[in-house]
């Protein structure tokens, strides 16, 4: 049961970020602004990338979600 939930969470994460990096979202973030001198779209991609890594870490490699599930069961 636990494995299944972990798989589903990771799948969700992957699909969500695939969309966020792609057409409508990437285009929305495409502009002439710069943030700390960094062009908007670069900033968007790198920040999003970091968030993706952080969330993957949280789901895959921490006990954070494991403990919660025990209570649920």
């Amino acid at each position: 049961m636990k494995e299944k939930l972990k798989e589903q969470r990771l799948l969700f994460l992957s699909i969500l970020f695939m969309m966020l990096f792609s057409f409508p979202f990437a285009k929305m973030m495409n502009g002439t602004f710069t943030i700390l001198g960094v062009p908007q779209i670069y900033f968007y991609i790198f920040v999003l990338w970091l968030i993706l890594i952080f969330l993957t870490w949280l789901i895959a490699d921490t006990r954070l979600f494991k403990n919660k599930k025990k209570k649920d069961e």
Binding site: S14, V38, Q40, F46, T56
Partner: protein
């Protein structure tokens, strides 16, 4: 930098790699693997970053801007799916001893030989250009660092060409660490350690140069970006201009998502060299993090180079070298050279290993088997030699072919564009692998045709334009289409226009591939072997390793000598004996040399062979020595269902028996506790009655005296009666105490809490004990902290405790009694000392037992009931405190009581 210096650095670097390889193998032989940890695993996955990343990304960033990042976003998005896809692939590959992507596909579809051949060919054709661009990167970087200017001049002669010797050196490394054992499922620990090391080198080199360019050549990110705003191409790089670019970005992302799973080198590192599935947990976030870090400085280097070399004819792919050269930083140049060399060589090393295993197992072996079957020649004795040497030869051939390709075709194209063509080639495996993992109906014919069709379309749309570009084909085919048919133009297939070349080729090849795959799967039948393999792949997590080993689909039997000699030929005598001994131990069978091998042993031998020569060839080899009858599909399904059912039943049984043994254990403990309590009760009863009898006996004796002798004079009679009253008092005191203790222990007593002034309470006790003190001529000294907060407790019970302790002290003291009390850290500490003979330390805990004195009559004559200290202890515990004894330096006992400031009411039921 001179030619010699570059060669020296390269040789030195290769020597270090050899050293690391040997060290890792040495550690592995000593059973202390250095690569069996998730960090090394994640680092070795970074073999994904090649010269393409190191040099090519920078070039790409100067032409298409942000798009270059999508090649690394793909793996980052795929990484969470490692747990789903890669873990399943790893589990399957370990159970079936799969050694390469070709082996995986061929095994999935019924151990089919043709599939193995096609996948191998497609991989080799698709990947050699990719290896070539790594050599190209090495050769260009040598040219740049040895030239006085930072512009490349072309000159070509094989034997004066450093790249040639470097290619030879790399082949030697691969042969040494990659083809040691014929069993390709054995881990190449030296190789993996070297790759992980190279991953560190390349990221460190790249980051240091990035920092140098950003913060020393310029004043930080801001300045690079501000100054690049003056460049003519600025708009294109900072902002995505064309909506078509989003499609290109999306196809880069999809391509790299597939490539990170299916490139032969990624499959080798992530599946074949994987030590534990659990390592994925760390790799899933560390690997994308690595990619992010190595990409941080691409933009500053790309833009910085564009600013500095604006207007000069310098290939942007070489900016990373040109910039430190421009700044006259020889050490930095050397470091970049080594970094680029490590990026290129790691790719070459792993890719050639993977390809050579595929060639030897899926092309050479089937060919050999075919030859020996038609010529009836017996090659078997030489099989082992042939497998190993075919691997070694193919390594050299692959590297040489790549070298030639580099010298003829690759010169004209950028690193990234050639790399992307290779990515598209391996993407053709995606439908067969991914659908094969989840869809049982996917079948062999479908996989064969789909991959072939994908291959053809890939070749037509992506390779043909390159061939034309290199001048080997006239450009007619590009303009007029194949055979003059306009809808067959390689770059505008069926009239599709408006996309970049890669998206165009990727789309069409995957479209036909997938459609054919699904379509044919739905309309053709599967063989028994395919059904069995489909089951073993799709439901791998339902089949345990044991059931995979235990369930066999062919009722094959053979003679054990046949089986063992087969294994001897391929994996050698020592390893065969080792594996068979392990098998015999696991299944508790006796493998006598003359006996018959049962189907289970046959299938075990087949799996062992598969690890060496691939599953399809292993199948054929085993078929030759085994008499077997093919089972019908229904029988196979029945066996599979049974094995699954058995696993579930086993699981259920295990769970039940676990629960049962847990319950038994609980019962046993409870029973033991009951017994102990029962014994304690018996003992208590015995001592109580014994204690009651003593005063009772004397009362009776005294009463009898008075009763029997009426002539006793009154004064004397009074003395007897007084004694009787005293004994009665003692009796009723004893009974009260027993009742009290019983009440405290049963928890029926509620604490009657109130704020107590501890000092006053202790002084009061002195008052009530004054008579006794006087009788014994004792002095009592107080040392009580003033201004203690009120103690929350039951005043009557606590008074009893301290009265008991004080009277105890009075009994034993010679001259002085010392009472101290203080409050610190929320705890009251009261100590009552006497200067008597003290208590032996082994009795410190026993004295708090009920009737301790009574039980130890020999120590001294009992004074008091023997329940006082037990009651004290109980009361202190009811206040959540502690009581214990410390012996003083010279003599005397010191009773210490600690009570916390706040106690929880109603804690005691």
């Amino acid at each position: 930098m001179s030619n010699i210096t570059v060669i020296l650095w390269s040789v030195l670097y290769l020597i270090i790699l050899f050293g690391i390889g040997y060290y890792a193998e040495f550690r592995s032989a000593a059973n202390r693997s250095i690569i069996n940890n998730p960090y090394i695993y994640a680092l070795s996955l970074a073999v994904y970053c090649t010269a393409w990343t190191f040099f090519g990304s920078i070039g790409r960033a100067t032409t298409t801007g942000v798009e270059y990042l999508y090649i690394y976003l793909g793996p980052a998005i795929m990484a969470p799916l490692f747990w789903i896809l890669l873990r399943k692939i790893i589990r399957i590959s370990k159970t079936q001893r799969i050694t390469s992507i070709a082996d995986f596909i061929s095994t999935r579809y019924g151990k089919n030989i043709s599939l193995g051949v096609i996948v191998t060919l497609l991989s080799v054709i698709g990947i050699i250009p990719y290896i070539a661009i790594q050599l190209k990167a090495i050769s260009s970087s040598i040219e740049i660092v040895t030239s006085t200017t930072h512009v490349i001049q072309h000159s070509f002669n094989v034997f004066s060409d450093n790249t040639f010797y470097i290619a030879i050196g790399l082949s030697a490394f691969v042969i040494l660490f990659g083809t040691r054992s014929v069993d390709a499922t054995e881990k190449h620990e030296g190789l993996v350690a070297a790759i992980a090391f190279e991953s560190i080198i390349k990221i460190v080199a790249f980051t240091i140069v990035g920092i140098f360019v950003t913060f020393f050549l310029f004043n930080g990110f801001g300045e690079v970006l501000k100054r690049s705003a003056d460049l003519p191409s600025f708009q294109k790089l900072f902002v995505v201009q064309d909506n078509k670019m989003y499609i290109q970005m999306f196809s880069m992302m999809m391509l790299s998502m597939l490539a990170v799973l299916f490139l032969p080198r990624q499959f080798q590192i992530s599946v074949v060299e994987n030590m534990q599935e659990q390592h994925l947990n760390k790799a899933m976030w560390l690997f994308p993090l690595y990619l992010l870090v190595i990409n941080l400085f691409v933009v500053p280097i790309a833009f910085g180079g564009s600013i500095i070399f604006n207007g000069q004819n310098i290939n942007a792919d070489t900016f990373i070298l040109a910039l430190p050269m421009y700044a006259h930083q020889p050490w930095l140049v050397t470091m970049v050279y080594i970094g680029g060399f490590s990026a290129a060589s790691s790719m070459i090393i792993v890719e050639t290993i993977a390809l050579s295993t595929m060639i030897s197992n899926h092309i050479v072996m089937p060919l050999l088997l075919f030859l020996s079957s038609i010529t009836k020649l017996n090659f078997e004795k030489y099989f082992r030699l042939i497998v190993i040497s075919s691997r070694r030869i193919s390594i050299v051939v692959i590297i040489l072919m790549a070298y030639l390709y580099d010298r003829t075709v690759a010169e004209k194209y950028s690193l990234v564009s050639i790399g992307l063509v290779s990515f598209t080639a391996v993407a053709q495996f995606a439908p067969a692998v991914i659908l094969g993992l989840y869809w049982k109906e996917a079948n062999k014919n479908a996989a064969l045709i789909a991959i072939l069709v994908g291959f053809v379309v890939w070749f037509f749309t992506l390779v043909v334009p390159y061939i034309v570009g290199a001048g080997f084909l006239s450009s007619e085919i590009l303009n007029e289409g194949l055979f003059g048919l306009h809808f067959l133009k390689p770059l505008e297939l069926f009239g599709m226009t408006g996309f970049d070349t890669i998206t165009h080729g990727f789309f069409w090849s995957m479209f036909f591939n997938t459609v054919f795959f699904v379509g044919i799967s739905l309309f053709s039948k599967r063989t028994t072997e395919e059904i069995y393999q489909a089951e073993m792949f799709v439901d791998i997590f339902k089949h345990s390793v044991q059931s995979a080993e235990g369930s066999i689909i062919r009722k094959g039997t053979a003679f054990i000598p046949d089986i063992t000699s087969l294994l001897y030929n391929f994996i050698g005598k020592p390893r065969t004996d080792y594996l068979l001994a392990g098998y015999a131990r696991r299944h508790k069978v006796n493998l006598t040399q003359s006996g018959k091998a049962d189907p289970m042993l046959v299938s075990f031998a087949e799996r062992v062979l598969a690890g060496a020569i691939g599953s399809a060839s292993a199948r054929i080899m085993v078929k030759n020595v085994v008499k077997e009858e093919e089972l019908s599909i229904d029988e196979v399904l029945k066996i599979l269902r049974e094995s699954q059912l058995m696993k579930e039943t086993n699981k259920e049984l295990r769970r039940k028996s676990l629960e049962l043994s847990k319950a038994t254990e609980e019962l046993r403990i409870a029973n033991q506790q009951l017994k102990v309590i029962d014994e304690m009760k018996d003992e208590f009863l015995y001592t109580v009655t014994h204690e009651l009898r003593t005063p009772l006996t004397s009362i009776r004796a005294l009463s009898e005296i008075v009763h029997d002798n009426p002539e006793i004079p009154d004064p004397e009679k009074n003395i007897y009666l007084e004694s009787i009253i005293k004994e009665t008092e003692r009796l009723s005191h004893l009974i009260t105490q027993v009742l009290n203790l019983e009440r405290y222990e049963s928890g029926r007593t509620q604490l009657n809490l109130s704020g107590i002034e501890l000092g006053a309470l202790l002084y009061d006790i002195e008052d009530s004990a004054r008579q006794l003190l006087k009788e014994k001529g004792l002095q009592i000294h107080f040392n009580i902290q003033t201004l203690m907060p009120l103690l929350e407790g039951d005043i009557d019970l606590l008074t009893q405790v301290f009265y008991n302790l004080t009277s105890n002290a009075i009994k034993h003291a010679k001259k002085n009694i010392q009472v101290e009390a203080n409050y610190q850290d929320n705890i009251y500490r009261i100590s009552i000392k006497d200067d008597g003979i003290g208590i032996p330390s082994e009795l410190h805990e026993l004295v708090f037992d009920k009737f301790f004195q009574a039980k130890n009559q020999t120590l001294k004559k009992p004074e008091g009931s023997g329940l006082g200290l037990a009651i004290c202890k109980r009361i202190v515990e009811m206040h959540q405190g502690k009581i214990w004894i410390e012996n003083l330096e010279n003599s005397g006992a010191n009773f210490i009581v600690e009570i916390p400031h706040t106690i929880l009411t109603n804690k005691f039921e």
